[in-house]
Symmetry: C2
Subunit: 332 residues, 2 copies
């Protein structure tokens, strides 16, 4: 059921089979599977998963290609609640490994916050990442276009950029090196913006020049456009660069600080897992964008199924089979 400040107290004495941190695609898919495995689960969701910002999912099998990410999330939450899963809007502050259980301390409510502690046998880290956006004075100006034709994921939206005048908004020299030449698969009409955040080495500078890509180091004043369609940028020197689309590549914030007191194997910022999503801790699983792998909604949904199934196998083996006699039913 949907929990809130008012009705959560009764759930503080119990031990859930699984607490899922994050109610995005991965967490919801895991929750649906867990409830169908007749396990108890609680999803702790701070709101606004990465897919919430996607105005159109173009590549999720089974949904029409203009389905907003928030529709997927809404349907998934309804599905999960229909299976009697518990869902609470809360921010996870810390997870403590108590041996057989985890103690998960959360913050509930922006005002008059309370800090209850929930417990579970297993933990699924499905809290994902969020993309850094160009730090402009007026962030509302960025939010107007981000997720529309100002993209953050090349695999998701490269197709929409095909042969368009594209602004590439870089966060570092490395992001240019790693991404710009791949972006040219979709469009070679690339203008790289550093927003004055970092220096570009002579080597990379000449590489960009060789490929004919423009490099603009003057900071951006604001994005131009209307009705969520970005048409260019105005720079701080007053000049205007016209664009038809954009890709932001400024890195990501990992929603994993609640795990910092637990020693888990990482690769870059991502949690290392086996094929079923198990991290280096036998009772902690990681799915979706937090784990090593491809950051895609449909992959996260698959990850959720895998992690939930492995946890079910673990718990099932521990409990052993049920006998007919022990559960006598009126004979048919």
């Amino acid at each position: 059921m949907e929990l809130s400040k008012k009705n959560l107290a009764r759930n503080l004495d119990r031990v859930y089979d699984v607490i899922i941190v994050g109610g995005g695609a991965g967490g919801l898919s895991a929750g649906i599977y867990l409830q169908r495995f007749r396990l108890s689960s609680l999803i702790l969701d701070k709101g606004k998963a990465r897919s919430f910002w996607m105005q159109e999912l173009h590549n999720y099998l089974g949904l029409p290609p203009d389905t907003p990410g928030r529709v997927l999330l809404k349907r998934g939450k309804e599905h999960y609640l229909s299976l009697n899963g518990d869902f609470l809007n809360a921010y996870v502050e810390e997870v403590v490994d108590e041996g057989d259980t985890f103690a998960v301390r959360v913050k509930v409510g922006r005002n008059n916050s309370i800090y209850p502690v929930f417990r579970s046998k297993y933990l699924i880290a499905a809290s994902g990442i969020i993309d850094y956006l160009p730090p402009l004075e007026d962030m509302q100006n960025v939010y107007q276009y981000a997720g529309y034709n100002l993209h953050v994921c090349m695999v998701c939206d490269g197709y929409e950029m095909t042969d368009k005048q594209c602004g590439f908004f870089a966060g570092s020299e490395a992001s240019i090196e790693e991404m710009v030449f791949n972006l040219s698969w979709f469009t070679p009409y690339i203008t790289v913006f550093t927003h004055g955040l970092f220096e570009v080495s002579a080597g990379l500078r000449s590489q960009l020049q060789e490929h004919g890509y423009r490099l603009i180091e003057t900071p951006i004043k604001k994005f131009l456009g209307q009705k969520h369609q970005m048409t260019g940028v105005e720079l701080t020197d007053g000049s205007v660069v016209e664009l038809e689309t954009g890709l932001i590549s400024m890195g990501s914030r990992y929603h994993n600080t609640y795990l910092q007191r637990i020693d888990l194997e990482l690769k870059g910022g991502n949690l290392v897992t086996d094929k079923m999503g198990r991290t280096s801790h036998p009772r902690i699983f990681a799915i979706g964008d937090l784990k090593v792998g491809l950051n895609q909604v449909v992959v996260a949904a698959g990850d959720g199924a895998l992690a939930a199934t492995q946890i079910w196998r673990d718990i099932r083996r521990e409990k052993g089979p049920r006998r007919w006699e022990e559960n006598l039913k009126v004979s048919v």
Copy 2:
């Protein structure tokens, strides 16, 4: 576009980037990703994927929990065709590795069949498996209930069997050993049917007895029920066993004979792959039920995204970046 006997000839001279064998959840998801990566693909589908038989998908994130499998497949095919993917209803007879390309010989049409050969650089084996059903004289009697309350997948449908009188239709001693005790997680009211196909060892016989499970070795004459709801079985000796649900566990046929001349690493009947779905052949990928892993629709859909992305990376690296000058566009 949708190909047929009449219009396929023009596609015999080209080399597709990827041919996908199988138009189920995995193949369609891969096709959608490939087309969005601006690669060319052809899906060869014999029809009636395993998910086609599922009357209700209960665990696919984003779809209401009573969505028939065929609705997912229909939407996926429309999505793929809208991205200009090629789709042909055909049975793949053989794949020959020609070095840089694969030659894929197919049979088109049940009557007046033709046997064209298509070519591609990469191959995705997404042709899945199909479950063996109890071999009754009248197979229509089995089809009336299979996929309704006579299930073939415990992970998918165990929840629907909760605490019900369940028939377990076994294909071998091993299938009993592997599955019955897990099935008891959902319901302990289990009656095992051997259909007279094999002998049960004394050890397993006493194990079943200890757990209170019934064992029936008399062959089945027919399933009883109405409106696709199985209510029991009639045995060949005329006796009737009442049931509320059933699980068929008689093994699966692997749709992989077209690969038999290519030496690929297998585990059991499944193709061994890396995390992106690559088999032991660098240009052959396997996704969904054909590969080692969990047989679930949402996992297959995720697999498709992974394999397509890896193939794109391979081809992109080989071709190298595009330069602005080479593709001069009218300057904005």
